[in-house]
């Protein structure tokens, strides 16, 4: 069962306090749209999830036990191409926990988490594996084959041991200067200038 670690004594400071430009996206949010925002759904992180979740992850959305519907679908990491039902999102998910050492909102087992299902047509920002892949995707067709890398928790253009995203996923935009999530040693931190993409799911 996932938990969130907390170092009460470490003195911290910010990274990326000075940037050339703020143009870019933030992993794990959908772009505002007054007609689509009602597609944002709430669920609950599965009790067996071993690592906390954050926004911009490909997840399976399982049905709760009979009659236990109030908390929404059970959200667990996708384990195959067939189980990518949707994407976790930070939008309105203010119950996510941060600490001074772990500045990305985390959702541990049992926490409420927001997500969007495939087919919702929301435009969401997701991390791209690296800038080489980001550049390889430039000028691609909107329906370029994209894959979910279950190890590095980002999208990529390589099928090798990765999960294909649903064929109706569209690639809309790319940015090399976005905020993406780095998870290490129980702490999730923002990478101030990471590669990210906008996809329509």
């Amino acid at each position: 069962m996932s938990t969130i670690s907390f170092n009460p004594t470490l003195t911290t400071n910010i990274s990326g306090g000075f940037v050339l430009s703020t143009e870019g996206y933030v992993q794990g949010v959908f772009l505002d749209d007054p007609s689509m925002r009602t597609q944002l759904e709430g669920g609950q992180v599965g009790s067996g999830v071993s690592q906390p979740l954050w926004g911009g992850l490909a997840v399976a959305l399982n049905v709760q036990a009979v009659g236990a519907n109030a908390q929404g679908s059970t959200v667990v990491p996708a384990t195959s191409a067939g189980t990518i039902d949707g994407w976790t999102l930070f939008n309105q998910g203010m119950a996510g926990i941060i600490t001074p050492s772990s500045t990305v909102p985390l959702y541990a087992a049992g926490a409420s988490i927001n997500f969007a299902r495939n087919g919702s047509l929301l435009r969401i920002a997701v991390a791209v594996e690296n800038t080489t892949i980001l550049n390889a995707l430039a000028s691609a067709a909107a329906n370029v084959a994209l894959y979910w890398d279950p190890t590095n928790l980002c999208i990529t253009n390589s099928s090798s041991s990765n999960y294909a995203l649903p064929s109706n996923t569209q690639l809309l935009a790319l940015s090399a200067t976005s905020k993406t999530v780095t998870y290490s040693g129980g702490n999730a931190t923002w990478n101030a200038t990471g590669p990210a993409a906008i996809i329509r799911i």
Binding site: N13, F18, L31, P100, S175, S178
Partner: protein
């Protein structure tokens, strides 16, 4: 701690000079490196941790000749940072016999104890500022995560130590470090202040000995000015004041046992340009221009005086944080072999 005011053997006739010879400790210039040159007096007596909120933004727009309705959005992210506070305390017990014995030496014992307590506390505040109370937890300016650390490279003659280094090249190297620090904060062209806090033997050599040598070509200060004067003068001409500050505890605290000089930029005037300002978001308030922080609850230690059997007990205390640089760009650790 007690006072030791023993009986003296004196020869008569004699004359005792009324003034005392008092041990002088180095008055550290560390406070020059604080935003506003002073501790931020914001703590309550009981605060255990200081937090500071951080707001970041990523922006995106669409631009077409006609209006479309699928538009991108700006995203604002909020998080926070922390540092711990520490309560510094020290105690003195004395009675009228101690006061009388010290009085034999023309020493006012209550005043001496008060100043001694403050000196002890102040020296700990200096250590907390530079080195942190707990260095392994990233406390202290010299342990700032992601701070720039630079070691003086050999000059073109292969000299590696301050005493042998070419003075003109040394001035240009210092100017390069100042430029790099300001540049990383988008501060070029704006008035401001930078602090060079280092041991006397380093800063003093720059100011007194290192006269820029005359060469076959003209260079700033050749034959007339020292490295320190060249650095100050060129910074002045760029509207940046250099505050030279001294603290000999920095001897041997640089990389590989070299001397450390801290190049600090204590205040960040939010850089802006009239009209279309590509840093518009930073107009959001409240914000602070202090880049290097150390907090306290009081301007001088609190004293609690209590009668005890046959005397008085005086506890002096002050709550502080270690030196804290929320933005690491403000801290540059220069290592110079002496």
């Amino acid at each position: 701690m007690p006072v030791i005011a023993p009986a003296r053997v004196l020869v008569h006739p004699n004359r005792i000079e009324p003034n005392l010879i008092i041990t002088i400790a180095q008055p550290s210039g560390f406070a020059q490196g604080l935003g506003g040159k002073k501790l931020r007096q914001l703590l309550s007596d009981n605060d255990k941790v200081v937090y500071q909120n951080h707001v970041d933004v990523r922006t995106a727009v669409a631009a077409q000749q006609a209006a479309a309705n699928v538009l991108p959005s700006a995203t604002i992210t909020l998080d926070y940072i922390q540092t711990l506070t520490y309560l510094i305390r020290t105690r003195q017990d004395y009675n009228e016999l101690d006061v009388a014995d010290a009085g034999e030496y023309n020493v006012a014992l209550p005043a001496a104890y008060r100043l001694a307590a403050r000196q002890g506390i102040n020296q700990f505040i200096r250590a907390a500022f530079i080195y942190g109370v707990n260095a392994s937890n990233s406390e202290g300016i010299i342990n700032t995560p992601n701070a720039t650390a630079v070691t003086l490279p050999p000059d073109t003659f292969g000299d590696t130590t301050l005493r042998t280094y070419d003075a003109g090249q040394l001035a240009i190297w210092f100017n390069a470090q100042i430029q790099a620090a300001l540049q990383s904060m988008f501060r070029l062209g704006m008035p401001g202040r930078a602090v060079l806090l280092g041991p006397q033997r380093i800063i003093g050599t720059l100011q007194w000995q290192d006269i820029v040598q005359v060469t076959s070509y003209q260079r700033p200060g050749a034959g007339t000015a020292t490295t320190g004067q060249v650095v100050s003068k060129i910074s002045d001409e760029n509207d940046v004041t250099i505050d030279w500050a001294y603290d000999d505890t920095l001897i041997g605290k640089g990389a590989g046992g070299t001397d450390a000089v801290l190049l600090l930029v204590p205040e960040a005037v939010v850089p802006s340009i009239p009209g279309i300002n590509t840093n518009e978001f930073a107009k959001l308030s409240p914000t602070t221009d202090a880049m290097i922080l150390q907090y306290t609850n009081v301007a001088a230690p609190i004293e609690i005086t209590t009668p005890i059997p046959e005397g008085l007990d005086v506890v002096s205390m002050q709550r502080i944080t270690s030196g804290w640089a929320p933005r690491s760009n403000a801290v540059n650790i220069l290592s110079l072999p002496y």
